[in-house]
């Protein structure tokens, strides 16, 4: 049996995904160094085609697209990761309590989850951002609020299955308290599906964030890839690269996260991928 490490890093898709993600993360961290210009600063003539000085050209107001890309990477990643963490934390809590305690706790929490799944999530996110007034925080809150239900369902299912295992009964028999059982015996054994779902959720969060920014509901003072696509759409006919370049950046990043997430899944559940 190969080790997890071998299965994970031996997968060329994972390596490809990790390479791009690594690049994006480094660019995001080093954004101020890589681009001396503020992303909203007008640096040259509008609609310049790519050149040495402005590697990806300039947009309709003469802002550097390169500056937008590197600062956008920051915004997009930070918002997506924070939103994912928030929704994983909340979803895990709801799912764990529902699955472990069952009965009316389960009924109540699952009704709540269904509720949130009945409201079309993207419309809900739009309304939330509008109500909270667009900002980085409200984007994070909105994305988290619409993304936790699937996490809750996954965790609940896992907790139900782990709870039925005999080592949990053994813990009850030696007198361990409910909360200690939940956190020491049950939850650590639901980690691997949670990690996989969580990592794939980052990709979804990026898609939601860029769609919101595209519609003009992004954080007003932060450059983001979705916003760049939205700002460029009126000039599609004459300056198609304004839309294409940030779109490709979103596509590649989401694709890489999906590849890594699936690689994790394959490496953690080797039987499924082998047969």
């Amino acid at each position: 049996m190969n080790t997890f490490r071998q299965r994970f890093f031996g997968n060329p898709r994972v390596i490809g995904g990790l390479a791009w993600l690594g690049l994006v993360i480094m660019v995001a961290i080093a954004a101020p160094l890589l681009s001396p210009h503020h992303p909203f600063e007008i640096v040259a003539q509008p609609f310049l085609i790519p050149s040495v000085e402005h590697p990806f050209g300039t947009d309709s107001l003469g802002r550097s697209i390169w500056a937008g890309l590197v600062h956008g990477a920051r915004t997009t990643l930070v918002i997506a990761i924070l939103a994912t963490l928030a929704s994983v934390a909340f979803g895990t809590l709801v799912g764990a309590l529902a699955g472990y305690f069952g009965g009316w706790v389960d009924d109540g929490l699952m009704r709540l989850t269904e509720f949130f799944q009945t409201i079309p999530s993207f419309i809900f996110a739009i309304v939330l951002v509008a109500i909270l007034t667009p900002s980085a925080t409200s984007l994070i809150v909105a994305i988290a609020v619409v993304s936790w239900p699937p996490i809750a369902r996954v965790v609940r299912g896992e907790v139900l299955s782990v709870k039925a295992r005999e080592y949990v009964q053994a813990a009850v028999l030696v007198g361990q308290e409910d909360m200690a059982i939940l956190f020491r015996q049950v939850l650590p054994n639901t980690l691997s599906p949670l990690i996989v779902t969580g990592s794939l959720l980052v990709a979804t969060a990026i898609l939601v964030e860029s769609a919101l920014s595209f519609l003009g509901l992004g954080a007003p003072n932060l450059m983001s890839w979705g916003f760049m696509v939205g700002a460029g759409r009126s000039f599609l006919r004459d300056a198609w690269w304004l839309v294409t370049i940030p779109g490709v950046a979103i596509l590649l990043t989401v694709l890489s996260i999906n590849l890594v997430g699936e690689g994790l899944n394959d490496a953690l559940n080797p039987r499924l991928s082998d047969l």
């Binding site: 295992r165 009964q169 361990q176």
Partner: protein, 537 residues
């Protein structure tokens, strides 16, 4: 012996690179004649199922593949036959019965249609004629109402009925050979006895050869003409059933045969009757019955009904029953994992029925449980020392002391004390069961509740664990309630026995008396159903 119809020569089957050994089947040769039942016996990992699947070319390609040998059947080598030729053989000349009929049947297709399919692919019969044949087959395997059963889905039938459907499918085209891969392992004892009788009856009537894969020497004694013993992919011993069972030659076979517990009760019943460590009075447990919002009334299941039972101090009592008899529910009520709906549960005289979890806490250590599944009963993320020491530390024992005690206990159950620092996945099934026993002992209980503690273990390990439990019980003066479906196991470790059916206890008393003179109809039926009951080694 007449000319063999199937001859396997030097068969070798390779496992994928990441497996623990290169070959699943390593140079096995055997032959089977017309009208013969050949049993292939082995423990898990012996390669017996892989060999059976190789005959029909059903190995999960590309990971497991045949790398050498020949399989001669009706004048050709099946390993070198074209795919089209193999399809003619499959279902037509050789058919197969699997272990778990629930998953071996397509859940979305009526059983009649699944049987009908064989005639559709192998014959030119028209629809009414095929239907006629299906009904005939179903009546041949003694399915009730053979006119209507074809229109049922698999989930609507019982386990025994599903296996009868599988047998009907296997017999459909009067094949020359039937391969039966543990066909009764997933069934209850009484159902198993019926299916074995049916298989023998049909085999005798049609003169079919049967290659019967099993791990159970009782079943071998019941059905086999000849036996082949396998271990780690190699053939260990072969011979006529009577000889192998009476006078096995190979050491491994000797050990396997000796590991089968005898049906003669080992402990004589003691004349005195000490005070009970556990006494149940009128215990009841009902599941369901709660009506849902807008839903109709839920189904009520009376899982335990009016049960009276005692476990005298220092004695071992077997609670015997088939699946669904309520024996596990009873156990869960006793240890407080379920709340009983009525009746008394007296532990050392104290009635704990209806106690909340908080109220139960001071009594927890009195009863500890040994679980069935050695792979699910130890938390894979905790070290063995933490697993054993958890209970004592929760009761206030300092951690260092609890760990020292854990080392001691590991020694008592026959493991190295250093095992405290290792994780469960580093141990085999039998060793894990020993760790589970150590965990139970760490609480210094008065009563051990063992729920089918050996049913998931290989035969050769079963007896070691049983003997360990029995020795510990006697040397520590423990009482034990032992839940099992296997009367041989009950005879081996218990002085008293209680037989449970449909939630109620139908008969109880000293094991030796009940085995010698069963009063209740169902007890007699259970005893009659034990495979290989006539065989004593």
């Amino acid at each position: 012996m007449s000319a063999p119809i199937l001859r396997i020569e030097d068969l070798r089957v390779a496992l994928p690179a990441w497996s623990d050994r290169p070959l699943a089947v390593d140079g096995v040769s055997l032959a089977i004649a017309r009208n013969e039942i050949l049993c292939v016996v082995g423990e898990s990992g012996s390669g017996k199922s892989v060999m059976a699947k190789a005959v029909l070319g059903l190995l999960p390609a590309p990971h497991v593949r045949v790398v050498g040998g020949a399989i001669h059947f009706e004048g050709r080598d099946l390993l070198r036959a074209e795919e089209e030729e193999m399809r003619e053989v499959r279902g037509g000349r050789i058919s197969m019965i699997f272990q778990e009929p629930m998953v071996a049947l397509n859940p979305l297709m009526k059983v009649g249609a699944q049987t009908d399919e064989i005639f559709r692919v192998h014959t030119d019969l028209d629809a009414p004629a095929r239907r006629q044949r299906v009904v005939e087959l179903f009546s041949d395997v003694h399915l009730p109402d053979p006119e209507r059963i074809p229109d049922s889905y698999p989930h609507e039938l019982s386990g025994g009925q599903r296996q009868r459907v599988m047998i009907a499918m296997a017999l459909a085209l009067e094949p020359a050979l039937i391969i039966a891969d543990e066909p009764t392992t997933a069934l209850d004892v009484t159902t198993q006895a019926q299916i074995l009788t049916l298989l023998k009856e049909l085999q005798g009537r049609h003169g079919t050869a049967v290659l019967f894969i099993t791990h159970d020497f009782g079943v071998v004694a019941e059905v086999a003409d000849r036996v082949v013993v396998m271990r780690n992919g190699r053939l260990v011993e072969t011979g006529a059933t009577g000889e192998v069972l009476r006078a096995p030659q190979a050491d491994y076979t000797k050990a396997l045969v000796a590991a089968v517990p005898s049906l003669h009760p080992r402990h004589a019943s003691a004349p005195d009757q000490p005070a009970p460590a556990l006494a149940l009075r009128g215990l009841n447990k009902v599941y369901g019955g709660r009506a849902g919002l807008f839903g109709g009334p839920g189904r009520r299941v009376h899982a335990v009904r009016d049960v009276d039972l005692e476990v005298p101090r220092g004695r071992s009592v077997a609670l015997v029953g088939e699946s669904g008899s309520g024996k596990s529910t009873l156990a869960r009520c006793v240890v407080g994992l379920e709340r009983a709906d009525g009746g008394d549960i007296r532990l050392d005289g104290e009635n704990i029925a209806g106690f909340s979890r908080r109220q139960l806490k001071p009594y927890r250590h009195l009863v500890q449980m040994v679980f069935q599944d050695p792979f699910a009963s130890l938390n894979p993320r905790h070290r063995v020392g933490d697993i054993i020491a958890l209970g004592p530390t929760l009761r206030g024992t300092p951690k260092r002391e609890a760990w020292d005690r854990a080392r001691e206990l590991l020694g008592m159950v026959g493991l190295q004390p250093e095992a405290v620092g290792r994780y469960p996945h580093e141990f085999s099934g039998g060793q894990r069961q020993r760790i589970g026993i150590a965990r139970a002992l760490a609480m210094e209980p008065a009563l051990i509740l063992a729920d089918e503690p050996v049913s998931a273990l290989d035969v050769s390990v079963q007896k070691q664990v049983l003997d360990l439990l029995d020795d510990l019980r006697q040397s520590l003066g423990l009482s034990m309630l032992f839940i099992t479906h296997d009367l041989r196991v009950a005879a081996h470790v218990c002085e008293e026995i209680a037989v449970m059916r449909h939630g109620a206890i139908v008969e109880r008393g000293p094991t030796s008396e009940i085995f010698a003179d069963p009063r209740h109809e169902y007890t007699r039926q259970l005893l009659d159903s034990v495979p290989g009951k006539g065989w004593e080694h």
